[in-house]
Each structure stands twice: as C-alpha cells, then as structure tokens.
C-alpha cells in the first residue's frame, strides 16, 4: 500500500473519507457565456491569502511605534533581502483585492445572484468588503508617512462627525484626542489582530453559504434553459472548475508580480504632526469618491454642518447597500429598484473617482 493510500485509509477509518469529500464530488458550477464572472470571488480569496502570507513576513521586521515605524519600513525596503518585493506585493495585492472584491460584488448585483435564498451571502459579502476597507484604512497608516498621517486625521475626523457617538468613536480610533503614536499602535492592533480574526470568521460563513446554496444562475438564462432543454449546462467543481480557477489565480499572481516589481510601492516622507498638509494630497483610489463628495458638500445645509450630513449620507447609503437583497420585489415583473440603485452606485463611484483624480 502506498503511503498516500495508507494515510487515506487511516483517515477513512476514523472520519469517513468518502463522506468528507462527497460535497466536493457533487458540487457543480453552472456553465454559460457569463461563467467568467464566477472567478472573481475566488481571485479575491486568493489575494486575501497572499495578504496573510506577506503580512506575516512584514511582521518580522515592522515596529509599531511613532519613532520606529517609518524607519522599520525603510529598513524592510532597503536592507532586508527582497523586503521591497514583499512590501510591494502586500500593497499591490491589497489594492487588487479591493478592486476584485468590488468587481465580484457588482457582478453578483447585475447577475442578480443575491436573490432568495442567498440574501445573507450578499450581506456577509458586503460586511467583508467593509472589513477590507478597514484593512486598507488601518494598514495605510502603518508606515507613518505624511500622506498616511493626514488620511488618518481626516478619516477619523469623518467618523467623529457621526451624531452623539461620533466623538467617542474618534477618541476610540485615535487613542486620544489627536492622531499620535497611540493611534499607530491601535491601528496596528486592528490591522493584524482584530480585522484578520473577524474577516476569517466571516469569510468562513460566506464560503459555507456559497457551498450550501450552490452557484446562482442568472434569472434570464434560467428562463431560457427551462424553455430549451439541453445537456451540458454545468461542470463539476472538482477538478474541472477548480483547475480553471487555479489558472485564474496564476494569472492574478503574474499580474501582481509584474505590478509589484515594475512599480514598487513608495514610502514618502516621515509624518510630522506639526507640518502643513502637502498640496495635492489625495486618499487611496477606493476612498477617492467619498473624499471628492465631501469636498463638494457645502459647509452648511439648513444650518447643519455639511460634513455631518455627508457622513449621515454615507451611513445611509452603506445600510441600503447592505440590505439590497431585501429591496428586491417579491413577484417577478415588478420594478427592480436594486438594478437602478446598482447602476447609480457604479456611475456615482466611477464619476467621483475620475473627478477626484483629475479635479483640482
């Protein structure tokens, strides 16, 4: 008996090998002209795994204090062998992950995969995206450079605008009334302990729900299929889809390696709490649309501070987005507010991001 078979027998006698792999054998993925969109969730997961691996590597040299953070990242990128590459991959992979998560979300929205019974899959996915933005926001501060310092100041101040509990949230985030070394230490804790724990837990639920309900077929195709019966409408997950997904991961890895090597992530200048915000300061692209919207809101609307209204608006939009599946009409043929909301959101985010990028 070969060692692999012996291990398999050992497991089978104790846990029931056949039962364990049964779900994998029966799992199928619908096969149609839009199947490519199904890869995006898996690619996002792959990039998350890369974040964990490179994040652990960065932890070996990074020091989370205002006096040492910038210097330790400088040390990683200039002294440690391949340190520049590890950091560059961590930064690029973070950005690509947020991009693929957005793409995955909009594909789910426009293919209407959030319909009953998959409402909670959508909800956990949106919360995961919020967590990813939290990762981005907290990780951005860790190199303790000028841009990060002001981004954190503005971002935590935005949180402080929430009525009643805002000031408490701001002090909680900053570890005091101002952005200081205490903020850096807290953000480090959020970034490497709190958020990874929450994200892993929620990711488990998200993936388990996908297993439970299987992969959604867009309703338009489902109708065509029932009127024109034809074989070969699905492929087995293992190995057929799995191998295709692996190829997609390989492509993602190639793109990531290329970006990280050709455009290594810069470090900027060390944060100085007593310097002016530099001209042309902008947040990361995924916060740019919100940033631009805050810039455009007038200072006072009906004697309420503009940014308070802005923050309440963001909160309301986030809540609607989270609960989007529940806005889907119960009967077919009714109006579909979800589609309109999706188109509006995509247009708003794209337009504001472009405006923020090119605008003064």
């Amino acid at each position: 008996m070969s060692p692999a078979v012996r291990v398999q027998t050992w497991i089978d006698e104790r846990f029931g090998w056949a039962e364990m792999i049964a779900p994998l054998q029966h799992k199928t993925v619908p096969r149609h002209r839009l199947s490519y969109w199904y890869f995006l969730g898996g690619i996002t997961l792959f990039l998350f795994l890369i974040q964990i691996a490179t994040g652990i590597l960065l932890l070996l040299y990074y020091r989370p204090s205002a006096n040492e953070a910038f210097e330790s990242v400088q040390y990683i990128t200039t002294q440690v062998k391949f340190g520049w590459l590890v950091r560059s991959i961590h930064s690029w992979s973070a950005n690509l992950m947020i991009f693929t998560a957005f793409a995955h979300m909009f594909s789910v929205l426009f293919l209407r995969a959030y319909r009953k019974p998959r409402e909670l899959t959508w909800v956990t996915g949106v919360v995961l995206l919020f967590l990813a933005l939290g990762f981005g926001f907290s990780g951005y501060l860790l190199p303790w450079n000028t841009l990060a310092f002001f981004a954190t100041k503005v971002g935590s101040e935005v949180a402080g605008q929430v009525p009643i509990i805002g000031p408490w949230i701001m002090v909680f985030l900053r570890g005091g009334p101002d952005v200081t070394g205490a903020t850096l230490t807290r953000f480090f804790g959020f970034h490497v302990a709190v958020l990874p724990g929450l994200a892993t837990l929620l990711l488990g639920v998200h993936v388990a729900l996908v297993q439970r309900f299987g992969i959604s077929v867009p309703p338009g195709l489902e109708q065509q299929w029932s009127s024109l019966p034809q074989p070969q409408r699905e492929m087995r997950f293992f190995p057929n889809f799995f191998l295709r997904e692996l190829m997609a991961w390989y492509v993602a890895l190639a793109v990531l390696g290329l970006l990280a090597a050709l455009f290594p992530w810069g470090l900027g200048t060390k944060a100085d709490p007593f310097a002016s915000a530099p001209a042309g300061i902008k947040p990361e692209w995924y916060f740019l649309s919100g940033f631009q919207a805050l810039k455009l809101i007038p200072p006072k609307i009906f004697s309420i501070d503009g940014e308070v209204l802005g923050v309440l608006g963001f909160g309301a939009a986030g809540l609607v987005w989270l609960l989007l599946p529940f806005l889907e009409p119960k009967r077919e043929g009714g109006g579909r507010p979800t589609f309109a909301i999706g188109v509006f959101a995509l247009t708003f985010i794209t337009a504001m991001t472009i405006y923020g990028y090119f605008g003064k």
């Binding site: 002001f150 005091g176 009334p177 007593f274 915000a277 300061i281 805050l294 810039k295 007038p298 200072p299």
Partner: protein
C-alpha cells in the same frame, strides 16, 4: 361537612389545579427574571471595564495658553511658519504689510493642518481646498467655522502668541 379529594365537587378540583399551575408559572417567571437579571448583571460587570479601557485617559497638560512662536528675524513679509501650541499646530503669518497674525492651524472642516499661500495671501487647506482669510475667517470651500485666532505680542526679539 368535610370531603375527601374524591368526594370534592368537580369545579373545586379544577380550581385547585389551575391555582397550582398559576403558582408554578409565577414561580418560573420569577426564577427566569432572577436568572436573566443575574446573567445580564454579570455581563455588564465584564463589559463595563472593557468599555472604559477602550477610552484612553484624558490628557492632563492641555492648558498651554501662551508660547514663543518665533523671533522677529525669522519671518520675511508675506511668509509664515507652523509652530507648536500645546499639543496642536498653529500658524504664524507675517503679512505683506509686515503685520503678524496667529491662528490655529487645524482646519475646522476635517482637521488637516492648513498652510499660508503666498500667491493668494490667504490660508489654505490642501485636503479639501478650504480657504480662510488672514483673520482666519472661512471664505470658501467646505470649512464650516473660522480658525481660532490668537493674540500676538512682540516682546523684545520674541514673538509671543497667546490664546485670546
């Protein structure tokens, strides 16, 4: 006249059973309240210290009321300097006329640090394009309030800035 249980009229027996069930129910709900209340109270006693722990202790040395911001040789007309005022940054401007002005450098919009723009002779916040005049009044962009203005006194060679 006395009855044994079997001899009691049916109605009386039904009433007794109902009474004992009611007694049981009220005893059960009392126990539920006690148990639930106890669990809630113990959860509260675990959570309260954690919540208090999350909020850092208030800083004690916020009471800086005056500071030497610069010496009179430092600033040419139409230039500026950021200086420390307690734990926050502040802005000292020497106007084109040679006058000194001092104000908080923390933008009233989302608390970025502002700067003096020589070309516009105004105070500018780079984060969201807010503009203030030389008295710290918000003149354009998103800032909702003026910057806090400070008093400037020249004592010998030193420029002293004081909270108004």
């Amino acid at each position: 006249m006395s009855f044994t249980t079997a001899e009691k009229p049916v109605l009386t027996r039904v009433c007794e059973v109902q009474e004992s069930t009611a007694k049981n129910t009220s005893r059960r709900s009392l126990l539920k309240i006690l148990l639930g209340g106890g669990i809630l109270a113990s959860l509260g006693s675990f959570l309260y210290p954690v919540l208090r722990y999350l909020v850092p202790p208030a800083e004690t040395n916020l009471g800086v009321d005056s500071v030497i911001a610069a010496t009179i040789h430092e600033l040419k007309p139409n230039s500026s300097k950021i200086f420390r005022f307690g734990s926050r940054p502040a802005l000292l401007i020497r106007t084109a006329d040679g006058e000194y002005r001092a104000m908080s450098a923390t933008c009233t919009h989302l608390s970025c640090t502002v700067q003096y723009r020589k070309d516009a002779q105004q105070v500018w916040c780079a984060c969201h394009n807010g503009m203030y005049d030389l008295n710290g009044r918000n003149v354009s962009g998103p800032p909702p309030r003026p910057l806090e203005k400070y008093q400037v006194h020249i004592q010998g060679e030193e420029i002293q800035v004081q909270r108004a």
